[in-house]
């Protein structure tokens, strides 16, 4: 069975997370994705790990292996005129180019839509850029952390009312990259749909800062609507909605509605303190959270996570465990849904990876091949597809162009 996107040919000029995650979403649904890496070193994510047995090795990086499934890979130095010429030949046969080359570097190597459109008039080119292709921050240097902060979400996390001295806290990993990538995938597939029904190719520009700012819930609007600055220091509107320690881990307590709180009180065996006036509704429980915490901690600390989770869910109270990685891998639910997938790559071996973001009833998400080793498909692409002689391929390799 073919994936939904098996008719699309994509070239990726990507580093780290955003462009590679964007094209992974396409590749795992069947698209033919060709990844272009720098000769010798490859994508920076190859240095990031985690590595099996902590052995740093460019073919064993967990991050790279995850982000580049189902892609073929070539090496090519697009920063040289000769290399860029070959890059144009690759673009000739593609539907879509996805890249995350920063704007100043785009200028330097001559990567622009007008030029590539002359080479391939039907091309869709997606540029994932930190702050947009224009504007005063166009040339700003950025890293994942600075973009997560620039989008306005990071300032909301960490510290809390008792710890104003603590800095805002980033979420784990490379979240700015992931959000740039999935927002770019959404705009890019839309451009492909437009082209499918007769519109021309086009340039799609995706701002990572804007992709994150678009997820601010009601936070952004607090300024235009109420002239208020949202903060991580304030008290929550209702409680409990907090993590708490059990005897064998942490659980997330969550009683948004009164009936959920009443069910929780029942689970706790209807203790007398729960009937105190100061705990009689969500906002009061939030105001008196310090006092409530003392009672709750005393009871919760004697429970096991799983037991409390199941008791709460049986009464339709949305508690959740604070899952460890081990919990996730051992979850009966995730196993029943075949979420984790084994992927074997000859150098790195076989490991379990996170799987499909959604399940389609008709067109499968599937792993057809592991991430490419550096330059794995040079002969196949440069020789087979572009028709270079082996002597020419050898020469380009010797000169470090591929």
């Amino acid at each position: 069975m073919l994936g939904a996107l098996s008719d699309l040919k994509i070239v990726e000029l990507g580093e780290m997370v955003s462009a590679p995650y964007c094209t992974k979403l396409f590749a795992d649904m069947g698209a033919d994705v060709l990844k272009v890496e720098r000769p010798g070193v490859g994508d920076r994510s190859r240095t990031r790990g985690p590595f099996p047995n902590d052995e740093v090795h460019p073919e064993k990086s967990g991050l790279f292996l995850y982000l580049n499934t189902n892609k073929r890979g070539v090496t090519l130095d697009v920063a040289t005129p000769e290399g860029f010429g070959i890059f144009e030949d690759l673009i000739c046969g593609a539907d879509i180019l996805v890249h995350n080359v920063p704007p100043p570097e785009m200028d330097r190597i001559g990567l622009n839509f007008d030029l590539l459109q002359r080479v391939n008039p039907a091309l869709i080119m997606t540029s994932i850029v930190p702050f947009g292709l224009s504007g005063p921050y166009r040339s700003y240097r950025s890293e994942d952390l600075t973009l997560w902060c620039a989008g306005g979400v990071c300032v909301l996390n960490g510290g809390g009312p008792d710890h104003p001295e603590l800095p805002p806290l980033k979420a784990f990993g490379h979240q700015a990259g992931y959000q740039g990538g999935v927002h770019a995938a959404t705009a890019t597939i839309a451009a492909a749909l437009a082209r499918h029904r007769g519109e021309a190719g086009q340039h799609v520009e995706v701002s990572v800062q804007e992709s994150i700012a678009s997820q601010l819930e009601m936070t952004f609007e607090y300024w235009p609507y109420s002239r208020l600055i949202a903060t991580r220091h304030g008290q929550k509107p209702v409680q409990p909605a907090e993590m708490m320690r059990c005897k064998d881990g942490y659980i997330y307590l969550c009683c948004i509605y009164e009936h959920q709180w009443r069910a929780f009180v029942e689970i706790m065996g209807n203790p007398e303190w729960a009937e105190e006036e100061i705990f009689s509704d969500g906002p009061k429980r939030a105001q008196n959270w310090d006092a409530l915490t003392v009672f709750l901690e005393e009871w919760v600390s004697r429970q096991s996570v799983n037991d409390l989770y199941r008791k709460a869910q049986a009464r339709r109270v949305p508690f959740a465990p604070v899952s460890t990685m081990r919990d996730l891998l051992n979850s009966e639910h995730l196993q029943a849904r075949d979420f984790f997938v084994d992927i074997t790559q000859p150098v790195a071996g076989t490991h379990k990876y996170p799987g499909a973001p959604v399940k389609y009833s008709r067109t499968p998400w599937q792993i057809r091949m592991p991430a490419p080793t550096l330059g794995q498909h040079n002969a196949e692409i440069f020789g087979g597809q572009l028709g270079m002689t082996s002597a020419r391929i050898e020469e380009l390799t010797r000169n470090g162009k591929i």
Partner: protein
Amino acid sequence: MAKLPLEGIRVADFSWVWAGPYCTLQLAHLGAEVIRIETKTRPCVTRLLPPWSGGTFDSLNKSGYFNQYNQGKKSLSLNFKHDEAKEVAWRLIKSADVVANNFAASVMDKMGFGYDAIRAVKPDIIMISLLGYGDTGPYRDYVALGPTQVPNSGLSALTGYEGWPPMNAGFSYPDPNAGIHGSFAVMAALHHRAKTGEGQFIDMSQWECTMDLLAEGILEYTMNGREPRRIGNRDPQLSPHGIFRCLDLPEKILDRTIDQWVAIVCADDEEWRRLAHAIGRHELADDARFATLAARKRNENELEAIITEWTSKRHVADIVAALQAAGIAAGACADNKYLAEDPNLAANKYWVELDHPEVGVKRHCGIPWRMSGTPCEVKSPAPLLGQNTDELMTGLLGYSAAEVEALRKKGALD
């Protein structure tokens, strides 16, 4: 004039709160006609939540939260206690390309709008359910909210200050993350339908979709059997890599002092040397304690104290300007006021300021991409509850004015 990518695509949108509406918002941005099925008897939670234009809750149409995530959509208000209202919904479904919902599992089935019922009359429908735990598996009927899937996904165990308990993400991250993955999935299915004529069902689990963002943590366990340690804002391979205190905002807001912070990252030794010069500590540029990544990681507390000493006496805008001029990745840890006044967002015309009947002109977040051939723009402000009921009933859905009147009298249209 080029057509927008989803022009002519109609979405029967049963979704509410955040995950589903964020999914269908993208489809509206791209030109789809998104019709939210709402009811006055149980309005979308976000219509009730602050911030409210005018400061107090006196209307279902003044919430900034709702008005942000429902731009460009229409609202059809029905009361499903009446069978006639279900008939209206069926007419809409039959005219639609996509049905979206994020109710708990089984709710659509109980309402009579399950996938099997719908595809029996509309075989090429694309239906997406954005659920906490997904549509199959032993926990299918477990209840979840976006915030519960932050800890459940492993994100909390991975996020936190060194030596501290697990932390949250600061917002209900699994909601918009599910929404945006959902919009991609719907369009992948539309692409398949365009080629084959086949529709399908899309089963999304917010739990799983969040784990797809955590591969580095999960692989640390599957490759090495270790639970990753929480390391705050630091990074194993970049140093400095942190968020540093600046001078507070000069003015107070509601008698409150507003703290300001700057994120600073050096990608290599050369960038550290440039940073040392930029903060006026020339003598540190060649100091062995900080010369290499390994050395900086060993002395990171000291390194961060040195940087804080410089940043804490300056305004964030001055710090960013100085460090960017030196080629260092530095940026404000923006709060909502900062963003609402950000010159870069202004230059890129990111904000949307349309005249809303009850709220007037207010600034909202817009579309995070630009398309040269099919330029997307927000067509209309978020709808008033039931704003489009009459025009949809007598137009698209084919009821006469008299029938509409009768249905309204009966309470089927609320």
